[in-house]
């Protein structure tokens, strides 16, 4: 992952993750009736520098080591937490995005934010800068392995756009005879479709199709391109090349028939399986070819009936 991608991903994560996923749920709390001289021991044994003060689960204030030091320096006459604590506490709701926690921690220059449950208004947890960092790093790790959170969920994406019809399209260029680059388009397309949150089965079939089509262009043609367009229900792909064309389409579709040279067979392709493979993967399949001009392949996939 390069630096730019990492930054983008972090930005995405702070919006996508909510406070609840990052906060510490097991929170140490104290009652406002607790005697001040008992406070250091609680802070020390829990290795914390501040603690929320609650009454029947409701947050009434927060008391920190700083408050304690100020109280002790101010002659330390017997008092309870309720008298010394800070009553005006900055809080955050558990369902808010992590980005809100980051900005509030920054704006109020505080080390921790008590987290409230929006429906019951009771204390649900506490979130610190450390929690935010840990959560994002943890999620980046998952992301890196599975690209899981990097999905925009296509359905949501399309719902967000107000129009009569919406189509997302993108294209890839293929250089002929660049055998060592074979599979690059398939790999890029697979990543892209995954990030768009598509069903793994559809992603797989689309990637296989484009891999075979890509190899055909590389083996036989000078150049070609893949155009992909996605609407709410379908992925359509057009693969065009400026190649020699196919004289006998029926023969080309027969499994095992191939005109590929031995050098290509030794690379694991050209065994006469390409077009039959594509036909098997795609839900619709059309091929047109003009000898001396080139070949155009049109395929499409349904997004919903992924496991059909």
């Amino acid at each position: 992952m390069n630096r730019k991608e990492t930054v983008n991903e972090l930005q995405l994560l702070v919006y996508e993750l909510d406070v609840e996923s990052a906060m510490t749920k097991e929170v140490v709390t104290v009652s406002p009736d607790l005697a001040m001289d008992k406070l250091p021991k609680i802070l020390k044994s829990n290795r914390i520098t501040g603690v929320p003060v609650t009454e029947d689960g409701r947050l009434v204030g927060i008391i920190s080591l700083e408050d304690y030091v100020r109280w002790a320096a101010d002659d330390g006459k017997p008092s309870c937490v309720g008298d010394v604590m800070t009553r005006k506490v900055h809080t955050i709701y558990s369902d808010e995005p992590l980005v809100s926690a980051v900005s509030r921690l920054e704006r109020f220059a505080c080390g921790r934010l008590p987290v409230l449950d929006r429906t019951t208004d009771t204390l649900a947890g506490i979130v610190t800068k450390g929690d935010v960092i840990e959560s994002m790093l943890g999620n980046l790790e998952i992301d890196y392995r599975e690209e899981g959170l990097r999905t925009y969920r296509t359905s949501r994406f399309f719902e967000d756009i107000v129009s009569d019809s919406t189509e997302l399209s993108f294209a890839y260029e293929i250089r002929g005879e660049s055998i060592s680059e074979g599979g690059e388009v398939a790999s890029s397309l697979k990543k892209t479709l995954r990030r768009l949150g598509m069903h793994p089965d559809v992603v797989r079939r689309a990637a296989i199709t484009v891999y075979e089509a890509e190899m055909n262009v590389i083996i036989y043609a000078k150049a070609g391109r893949v155009r992909v367009s996605i609407d709410q229900h379908h992925i359509s792909m057009v693969v065009e090349d400026e190649g020699p064309g196919i004289p006998d389409l029926e023969q080309a579709m027969a499994p095992g028939f191939s005109t590929a040279p031995e050098s290509v067979r030794e690379l694991g392709f050209g065994a006469g399986m390409g077009l039959p493979n594509i036909k098997q993967c795609a839900e619709s399949f059309e091929i047109e070819s003009v000898v001396g001009e080139g070949t155009t392949l049109r395929v499409s996939f349904h997004m919903e009936e992924a496991c059909a």
């Binding site: 074979g182 599979g183 790999s187 793994p200 075979e212 690379l267 694991g268 392709f269 065994a271 493979n277």
Partner: protein, 124 residues
């Protein structure tokens, strides 16, 4: 002799094939669900099942691309054949662990099958 068939961890596969892993930090606890022996990448693309271990003699970058596209869990090269640097680089980038076994493709497949790793379903 009947053996229990089922998924096999990469750790056990590596051990049973006397294979070395040539990519960094191999996730040895991952399980291969099925075995697939092929040098024809089109065939892997067409009939491979997700989470297969791909046994092959073909060490070109296309093998890694194929494993990636066909959702293979790992690739094991036969004949002690070390793949070119670009293949390894690609595998590191796409998170496909690569192994090298000194066995032939035949012996490696036979051994894993004997130990209970299932194959891909028969073609209809």
């Amino acid at each position: 002799m009947e053996v229990a068939t089922g998924p096999m961890t990469l750790r056990r596969i590596q051990e049973m094939l006397g294979a070395s892993c040539i990519t960094a930090d191999p996730p040895l606890d991952l399980e291969a669900l099925v075995g697939c022996a092929s040098d024809l990448m089109s065939n892997v693309l067409a009939f491979g099942r997700p989470h297969a271990i791909l046994l092959t003699g073909l060490t070109s970058p296309q093998t890694v691309r194929t494993a990636e596209v066909a959702d293979c869990v790992a690739v094991c090269f036969a004949y002690g054949r070390q793949p070119p640097a670009e293949t390894i680089e690609l595998a590191e980038g796409s998170g496909i662990p690569l192994f090298v076994t000194p066995l032939t493709l035949y012996a490696a497949s036979g051994r894993l099958y004997e130990l209970g790793l299932p194959g891909c379903p028969e073609i209809e």
